[in-house]
């Protein structure tokens, strides 16, 4: 009996050590610091030469995490403008997104807790996605191909305590969203997302983006939380574009659903208006259609945004909390729909 227990324990420990991921891939680094994307204290995220920060109009909601976005372009290269799709990037480019929380959202100088940095590297063969998880000391972030989870506590903008087991997706799950025509692809740096203030013209002036057309020909998403940037419908569509459109398009992973939510679609059925669900399962919440005009409480879209159950909620990944402000906007949009 004693021997059996001992064997079990020893076997278990051996198994544990043998399964810990080790070994270096030539393609990428095990630690974020090794790339040299930042200078000084790594956690300060001060861009090194060739790296610049950028903003987008309609970001994806990720459990209220803040995001710091950077692009690295090899010297002498530039992004090439695309009207509809993300910009073309030169081989060697990288896109970095760091997720973090402020300890107290009410204070601008409140300490930050960095959670993860996702790195998209543009190789000759295409893009690869790598999740790096920040250590407790916040000195570096380490590659975790299988993802991970970490408890995080913070106070929200109303001072209310929030707590979450933050989930870092694994390498394959990255492609769950970052996929177009079965290929891994960036999502954010498109004309409509980057067309914000003078951002694009400044990038063009520095030679970092080429083939920029006249300003009036560049599409633009509204900023959903800023009323002055668009009508309710424009802001709602921008929100859906940023939060759903990366999957819900004819070449994305949610093409199975027949529901297409980028701003390029105006067909009411593609938007889900009076459209019966295909494979929503209990995610349909017992409601008949994706969107029932005037009736947010009868619309599956709202049900899935208001669910916290992994088998029901949308987006499928990267969200555990309900985005109250986003839901309110979509409700307002459906409410006023006739």
């Amino acid at each position: 009996m004693k021997n059996a227990l001992l064997l079990l324990c020893v076997g278990g420990f051996l198994f544990f050590f043998s399964t810990a991921f080790s070994g270096e891939e030539e393609n990428y680094k095990l630690n974020l610091s090794e790339y040299g994307f930042f200078e000084g204290e790594l956690s300060e995220l001060i861009p090194a030469d060739g790296v610049f920060s950028y903003e987008i109009n309609a970001p994806l909601f990720s459990d209220y995490a803040h995001k710091a976005r950077f692009i690295y372009l090899p010297e002498g290269t530039a992004m090439s403008y695309q009207n509809e799709r993300v910009f073309d990037f030169p081989v060697g480019a990288a896109i970095l997104k760091t997720f973090y929380y402020h300890q107290d959202e009410r204070k601008a100088d409140s300490p930050k807790r960095l959670m993860e940095t996702r790195v998209l590297l543009h190789k000759k063969e295409g893009w690869i996605a790598l999740p790096y998880i920040w250590n407790e000391e916040q000195t570096d972030a380490v590659l975790e191909v299988a993802g991970g989870s970490e408890m995080i506590k913070w106070k929200n903008d109303k001072g209310k305590k929030q707590q979450l087991e933050y989930q870092v997706p694994n390498m394959v799950q990255c492609k769950g969203c970052h996929s177009y025509d079965k290929q891994l692809t960036p999502i954010g740096p498109s004309a409509r997302q980057l067309n914000m203030g003078s951002q694009l013209t400044e990038l063009a002036a520095k030679g970092l983006v080429v083939n920029l057309p006249d300003a009036n020909e560049i599409p633009q998403l509204a900023q959903w939380e800023h009323r002055e940037t668009g009508t309710v419908a424009e802001r709602a569509r921008a929100y859906l574009d940023g939060n759903c459109g990366h999957c819900h398009n004819p070449k994305g992973p949610a093409s199975t659903s027949g529901m297409f939510l980028t701003t390029h679609f105006d067909d009411p059925t593609a938007l889900g208006i009076n459209k019966a669900p295909i494979a929503a399962g209990r995610g349909g919440g017992g409601r008949a259609y994706g969107i029932v005009p005037g009736k947010p409480d009868q619309s599956i879209l709202v049900y899935r945004m208001e669910s916290e159950d992994p088998g029901e909620m949308m987006p499928e990944l990267g969200r555990q909390l309900i985005h109250d402000q986003g839901v309110a906007l979509i409700r307002e949009w459906i409410e006023e729909m006739r």
Binding site: F15, F21, A146, Q167, V172, T256, G258, A279, G286, P310
Partner: protein, 405 residues
């Protein structure tokens, strides 16, 4: 000595909690790192998964457990992910000898993959059938060359075995029970469903075409040599889903799919609707998709055995109630909704060439045309227009499906 035992036991317990997490991480890491042509071996035992396992863009991979009910992955405490396992953009993937349990959403979704085989795999939601169970058990979608062989599916709140928007499909030697739909082929082409047992579901086998999808219309679907029995389970699908329309007591239901051959099946004790053939219009859901064909055509139901112990239909559906009012305990076996496409009927109310619904050699089975287009009151047992035969379909090219690995 006793103290030492308890001490060891506590350490082992604490360790096993930690180990569960590490097993999950180890499997997920293998799913990511396995080289093309490689095998992911799963040990015997029950392993708890907290999130989806994902595999993308792999070729010639075998994922292999130690046997159905010997290697068990359970998602009972799942925290993230819309499915148990998700496999995308692969070629020639085989999953075998494993049991997968209690995922929060769909159990195993395979998308955009050419060559996907499930062999000796059980997918189940444990406990009583519940609308809280995930929608699909086996869920290949937008795939080519799909094989589901010697598998079991239990407790899905939509379909236990579901193949959607796919091409070249064989589902055989499998068993589906206590699902809303046992086996469902949807918007798919070139499929053979044979030698399966569909028992104690709401509906045994469904062949559906739905509008507003990328792959518009399915067809060339054969359903043969199956035992489809006692599918009288209450429909526990969350309302709003298409399968919520399936009346309890359904053996086989064909919805809007053309070129379907149903033969040599044993269709017994399905109390409402042994076999139904209906247009999408019968659902009364508004239809806007102009490229979609809402009418079943060239459907051939022949040489099946129909039998019922209790002849009273299940009453928990509109059609069940209507059948009971009209026929009491002597409900017909094969129903046609009677909503043909405009121009489908020629002179003397016969189907024109290419529009036929044929029902032949089904023993004592009683046929009923609901005549829903004209009005249910014109329902009729006159099978004259349906007394025809069609050329045998070819179904799936089994060489294609089997030839893969």
């Amino acid at each position: 000595m006793k103290f030492l035992y308890s001490f060891l036991a506590i350490i082992c317990f604490a360790f096993s909690l930690h180990a569960q997490k590490n097993v999950e991480k180890a499997i997920q890491t293998q799913f990511i790192m396995v080289e093309d042509g490689g095998t992911v071996e799963l040990e015997a035992g029950t392993f708890e998964m907290s999130g989806s396992l994902a595999m993308d863009s792999k070729n010639d991979i075998i994922i292999k457990g130690k046997g159905m009910d010997k290697t068990i992955l359970t998602w009972k405490g799942q925290k993230t992910g819309a499915e148990g396992i998700k496999i995308t953009n692969g070629t020639n993937i085989t999953i075998q000898d494993v049991t997968l349990q209690d995922s929060k959403g769909d159990c195993i979704k395979v998308q955009e993959t050419d060559g996907i085989s499930f062999v000796n795999v059980k997918v189940e939601w444990t406990g009583k059938p519940s609308k809280k169970n995930g929608a699909y058990g086996f869920y290949p979608v937008q795939c080519k060359n799909v094989l589901i062989d010697k598998c079991e599916a239990i407790g899905a709140s939509d379909a236990g075995i579901y193949v959607g928007q796919s091409d070249q499909i064989v589902v055989r030697n499998s068993r589906a029970y206590q699902n809303v739909a046992g086996i469902e082929i949807e918007n798919s082409t070139n499929a053979d469903v044979h030698n399966n047992i569909a028992e104690d579901n709401t509906g045994g086998i469904l062949v559906f075409d739905l509008p507003d999808l990328m792959k518009k219309n399915g067809g060339n679907v054969r359903v043969f040599n199956n035992k489809i029995t006692g599918n009288n389970l209450k429909n526990f699908s969350p309302p709003g889903n298409m399968v919520a329309i399936v009346p309890p007591g359904t053996g086989i239901l064909v919805l809007a799919t053309s070129d379907v051959e149903i033969f040599d099946n044993e269709i017994t004790n399905n109390r409402t609707l042994g076999t139904g053939i209906a247009s999408y219009l019968y659902t009364q859901i508004p239809l806007k998709d102009e490229e979609y064909d809402a009418y079943p055509k060239r459907v051939y139901v022949h040489d099946n055995v129909y039998q019922k112990d209790s002849k009273r239909p299940k009453l928990n559906s509109d059609i069940g109630k209507w059948l009971f009012l009209k026929f009491k305990k002597d409900v017909p076996d094969i129903l046609y909704d009677g909503i043909p496409e405009d121009g489908a009927m020629g002179e003397n109310e016969q189907f024109k060439l290419g529009y036929e619904i044929c029902v032949k050699n089904n023993g004592e089975a009683v046929f009923l045309n609901l005549n829903a287009k004209k009005g249910l009151k014109y329902h009729s047992k006159d099978a004259g227009a349906f007394d025809c035969s069609l050329e045998a379909l070819e179904g799936a090219k089994e060489s294609l499906v089997k030839g893969k690995k």
